[in-house]
Amino acid sequence: MSSVQLLPVLLQLERQPGSLREQVEAAVGAHGTPLRWAITAVQHRPEQPPLLQIEAVVLNGAVAEAADA
């Protein structure tokens, strides 16, 4: 079995002040190395911060060689 895995992730995130991109990347990054993500829905709620739906694919496990980019 491959030690590197790609995993789908579905998250909900309450938006906070500050960089939205950094908030999403931190939330996705808690599940693995973000490979691809997007905010796919935004729910506005009275007197509460908007709730973002995020879909992502993350990389889990150690890649055998270091990235050379």
Partner: protein
């Protein structure tokens, strides 16, 4: 009109697999990209915009950059260094049947003989990649790869053998009778293959630091008399590979931003995020990494009315954008920015200035 103003590097993003009316099919955003390249003089965009299977358009003003590298460019992590030609390594999935593999080798040979592209070496993965398709909660196309390490091993082998860019051909599952495929071919569905394709090229490009793009290998489909013209590009032949080889053949090198760009010689200077003058994206799909990174840097965002599955709008994200009803209008706005004309001056009513309180 021909602009004499310096080029305005412009980023065009049309996310893959979200069913965009323009750009959700087989390279059907290419006319828009050509127009925007003419308006800006320098367009940076990604394979989903440019790939029309056997159809393609090569324009030195258009820079072909895979999606995860675009995200890193927008975040200021990468520079794009234009090149004369890449040496495109071909990575074939061991899951392909011998005849399908032979067809792809012949496509590569055709691109060498007819277009003069430098292609090779060719490597086959040491085990099938096991691509699977899926839809996310929103209906957006995602996908999976059962053997990501096999992909990376083959990619490293190509890089070690001198490839400066990598075209991947992976065996995708055939599902000729599915309702989703029928809807896509008739112009009302999502490209189910797109998500898995993006995952493959993102993984490889991220780990190897090379331009990468992907073409799916599939059995030819039976004739559909109701085929939508936007999907027709994928029905011309046995493979989707020619557009990928052409796109990668002049894709810019990806330089870590900390590295100084190459100066002198015949190369054009590297393009960094600081040079970007505008980003263009569908008005309902503004929640991706590249668009958010640009918006947070204060780069003008042109939000184009291009219906798709998502409703992640400027209003929903509280972003300031310039609205455009079509890519033709977006091209006019890009030309205005390039010429130093404030877009607001082109609209009516023009509200009077107010004193700041």
């Amino acid at each position: 009109m021909i602009s004499t103003a310096p080029a305005l590097p412009t980023l065009l993003v049309i996310p893959t697999g979200i069913g965009c009316a323009v750009g959700g099919y087989a390279g059907d955003a290419l006319p828009a990209a050509r127009l925007l390249a003419a308006a800006s003089g320098c367009l940076i965009t990604h394979p989903n915009v440019m790939n029309g299977a056997a159809l393609y358009w090569s324009d030195p003003r258009i820079h072909y950059v895979e999606g995860s590298s675009l995200d890193r460019f927008a975040a200021g992590e990468l520079l794009l260094q234009p090149v004369r030609q890449q040496r495109v390594g071909l990575l074939l999935d061991a899951g392909m049947e011998p005849e399908l593999r032979q067809r792809h080798l012949q496509v590569a040979d055709g691109c060498r003989a007819t277009l003069g592209l430098e292609i090779g070496p060719v490597v086959i993965t040491d085990r099938p990649l096991e691509v699977s398709l899926s839809l996310g909660a929103s209906g957006v196309s995602w996908g999976q790869l059962g053997q990501p390490e096999a992909l990376l091993r083959a990619g490293r082998q190509l890089k070690a053998a001198g490839a400066t860019a990598i075209a991947v051909v992976a065996r995708f599952p055939d599902d000729p009778d599915s309702e989703a495929l029928a809807a896509y071919r008739q112009g009302s569905g999502v490209d189910a293959l797109a998500g898995a394709e993006a995952v493959i090229s993102h993984l490889l490009s991220r780990e190897l630091g090379l331009p990468c793009a992907h073409a799916p290998a599939l059995s030819p489909l039976p004739l559909d008399p109701d085929l939508d013209p936007r999907a027709a590009g994928e029905e011309l032949g046995f493979t989707f590979l020619p557009c990928v080889l052409v796109g990668l053949s002049r894709a810019p090198d990806l330089l870590p931003a900390a590295k100084l760009p190459v100066v002198g010689g015949a190369s054009a200077p590297a393009i960094g995020i600081d040079a970007l003058g505008a980003v263009i994206a569908p008005a309902g799909a503004l929640g991706g990494a590249a668009v958010l990174a640009c918006a947070e840097r204060g780069i003008p965002v042109i939000a184009v009315d291009n219906p798709c599955l998502l409703e992640v709008s400027a209003e929903a994200l509280r972003l300031e954008v310039i609205a455009a009803s079509s890519y033709s209008e977006a091209a006019g706005l890009v030309l205005a920015l390039r010429e130093g004309i404030a877009p607001a001056a082109l609209r009516r009513p023009l509200p009077p200035l107010r004193l700041q309180s």
